[in-house]
């Protein structure tokens, strides 16, 4: 059952892309900013989780929560310090600033701890279960479960809470929302906080699942998550989830066919094709709710 195994591999990979892509797409939906520092918040999340587990002897869930909280705070700080004053500047200025913030985070971490990789401690029991000839590790089931729970939680926040309503209003029309008495600054901060918390969670999950973390680990997954967000229709939450999973499966299929050296290239070919053929992405049509 090779194909079933490959499907499992693809979904495991895709769910991590999807978690990162959610943060991208939320921030873009609200302030039309492609936050290239998002991949580095993901990296910070992985390291915070690592220190929580390895140095302070925490379990998986406390480490996950600490990492999400600290990343949320960092996300708000990044927004307040770097992006807030550029809110009315040209888009290219904000984009370049985002790249600058990204490099600043990467090399600050390298300055403090060096560039060598770190091995994540095994906090989750890892057994292989054989289903129809495919080996599925308990770890990947667990991680998929956490990912799905976080996505449901996000949908709940966006659609059922007051802050979610405010986000949807701001993404629709920030000026009108302000006139209606919505505090736009706080709403944008909340968006950054939630998006960064998801990136932090993805970092911890990535660390547990793939074991190796290093200060530049956020670069490629960050770009892939960006592709996933564009593929799904940037600004759309279901789009980010679907885009992430599709991208994960496509990469796996490319490797499974024996073209493993093309897998990264395939992701970016998808980006180019989608921008040429359907720039609004898979879920681009119903992009009215952009949070």
């Amino acid at each position: 059952m090779e194909w079933l195994q490959q499907l499992v591999n693809g979904i495991s990979l895709g769910s991590i892309y999807a978690l990162i892509a959610l943060g991208y797409t939320m921030v873009y939906g609200i302030i039309k900013l492609i936050n290239f520092a998002h991949g580095d918040v993901f990296m910070l999340g992985a390291f915070i989780g690592f220190y929580a587990i390895a140095r302070w002897d925490m379990g998986f869930f406390p480490a996950l929560i600490i990492s999400m909280v600290v990343c949320a705070i960092l996300g708000v700080i990044i927004e307040r310090v770097a992006y807030k004053r550029l809110r009315n500047a040209t888009r290219i200025a904000a984009l370049i600033t985002a790249i600058g913030v990204s490099l600043l985070i990467e090399y600050t971490v390298i300055f403090f701890r060096g560039a060598s990789p770190e091995a994540y401690p095994g906090v989750l029991p890892n057994k292989s279960i054989s289903i129809l000839g495919a080996n599925i590790s308990t770890q990947s089931i667990f991680i998929l479960g956490v990912t799905v729970v976080l996505m449901i939680l996000l949908q709940f926040i966006v659609h059922k809470t007051k802050i979610g309503k405010a986000m949807r209003a701001v993404s629709h029309d920030a000026d009108a929302a302000r006139l209606m008495g919505i505090n736009v600054d706080n709403t944008i901060s909340a968006t950054f906080a939630i998006g960064s918390a998801l990136a932090g969670a993805a970092g911890v999950i990535f660390g547990v699942y793939y074991t190796k973390i290093d200060p530049l680990m956020g670069v490629l997954p960050g770009l892939k998550a960006f592709v996933a967000a564009v593929l799904g229709g940037i600004g759309s939450i279901p789009g980010a989830m679907v885009g992430g999973l599709v991208l994960g499966v496509v990469e796996t299929v490319v490797s499974a066919l024996g073209y493993s050296l093309w897998r990264d290239a395939a992701a970016f070919v998808i980006l180019i094709l989608i921008l040429i053929l359907k720039p609004s992405g898979i879920f681009g049509k119903n992009a009215r709710e952009k949070v």
Binding site: S128, Q139, Y210, V253, A256
Partner: protein
């Protein structure tokens, strides 16, 4: 205009000051590099034999260079304590090449022209070593690399030999041959797979020689896949290898990716023997893969500190007594390099570069820590490789495989 002028002035000040700084840095490093026993004038007397050590003591690959230096120092102490070479003491002149090609060239020029050494220990990495071989050829002073494993260090692409370049380590493709012999001979595997790091010449060279030897031994390569450095997800390709029915997987590459490959392979239920080369040799590998996943994996290496051989064990004890840790392969190679040079000088009966060069090239059955070797016509040592097996996270000595 005024602005332009001040900019010009600023840049000239900047240039001048950086030049001065550079010169100062050069001075301090070369002074720091000279060993304490005897200045240049004393060194000119015939009482000491000077051996240069052009090593990576700082920079990106400093851990390799410093290990070789530590091993070489121990060898010099041992030789001097035993009376030196024909009654003359050895003086080791260390120069830091900062892990850079250009610095390695400059260091070789300094050793050859200012210090007038009899022979040099070359830089640790192949790239840095290559930057020095021309200086050796020009000045007729032999250079012996301890860990430069790329074939082109001694043999140019057109097939000509760098007359004054030698080494104590075996070359890259050799490990592929040893792994192939181990797979077909010791493990009896017929259908094998290769999963190689496509972004490193080291891994590609190993994969090519492994494949050639497997086919020569009557085996079959059922799948050949590749990854690139910094990849983290290998499961889809590993699934492919699994369904190809490989009984043995050869994974030439470095520990950062190999650790993840081994872990993910075991998660997918691939329980066949996995094998690699000295690129796997790092404690990080065990952290990444986990001790359990590493069971039934093998590597070829230059030597093992667990080898029961008497000569190796007495070296390990002497090293432990001094440095409080077991010597790694680089320590052993640094140690051996000094003894290789010593042997050649003794047989040459002179410290003349041409005589030493001839003796180095004619070395036969020299018994050293990392094996007994003779030098072939391409200036490479022909020696046994050690196969190590991971057992519960520890490297254990498995066997020695002849080329």
């Amino acid at each position: 205009m005024a602005q332009k002028g001040s900019l010009k002035r600023f840049s000239s000040i900047f240039l001048a000051s950086s030049l001065i700084l550079g010169a100062l840095a050069g001075c301090s490093s070369s002074e720091g590099g000279t060993s304490e026993s005897g200045g240049a004038s004393e060194g000119d007397s015939s009482e000491v034999i000077k051996i240069g050590a052009n090593l990576e003591l700082s920079g990106a690959v400093a851990s390799y260079g410093s290990s070789i230096a530590t091993g070489a120092e121990l060898a010099v102490e041992d030789i001097n304590a035993a009376g030196g070479i024909d009654g003359k003491k050895i003086e080791l002149i260390k120069v830091d090449n900062k892990s850079e090609n250009s610095e390695a060239t400059a260091a070789a020029i300094k050793l050859a022209t200012q210090d007038k050494v009899a022979a040099m220990i070359g830089p640790a990495t192949s790239g840095n070593m290559l930057a020095t071989v021309q200086i050796s050829n020009d000045n007729k002073i032999p250079v012996v690399g301890a860990a430069a494993t790329a074939p082109n260090v001694t043999e140019n692409e057109d097939g000509s030999i760098n007359e004054y370049a030698f080494r104590t380590c075996f070359i890259d493709p050799f490990q592929g041959i040893v792994a192939a012999n181990f797979a077909t001979g010791e493990l009896g595997a017929k259908n094998v797979a290769i999963y190689a790091d496509n972004s490193s010449d080291y891994a590609k060279g190993l994969a090519a020689s492994f494949k050639e030897q497997i086919e020569a031994n009557g085996g079959k390569v059922v799948a050949e896949e590749a990854y690139v450095a910094k990849d983290t997800d290998f499961k889809s390709t590993l699934t492919r290898l699994k369904s190809a029915g490989a009984e043995f997987i050869f994974i030439p590459g470095y520990y950062e990716e190999v650790g993840l490959i081994v872990k993910q392979a075991r998660e997918l239920g691939i329980d066949v023997p996995l094998m690699g080369a000295d690129g796997w040799d790092s404690p990080t590998l065990i952290e990444l893969a986990g001790a359990e996943a590493l069971n039934n994996t093998f590597i070829t290496n230059h030597y093992s500190s667990n080898d029961p051989d008497e000569k190796i064990q007495s070296f390990v004890e002497a090293f432990k007594a001094k440095h409080n840790e077991a010597p790694n392969a680089f320590h052993a190679l640094g140690y051996d390099t000094v003894f290789y040079i010593k042997d050649a000088i003794e047989r040459a009966g002179s410290t003349d570069g041409e005589a030493i060069q001839k003796a180095l090239a004619e070395t036969k059955d020299l018994n050293l820590i990392t094996g007994t070797f003779s030098v072939d016509e391409k200036h490479n040592p022909v020696k046994t490789a050690t196969v190590l097996e991971f057992v519960d996270g520890n490297q254990t000595f498995n066997s020695k495989v002849n080329p």
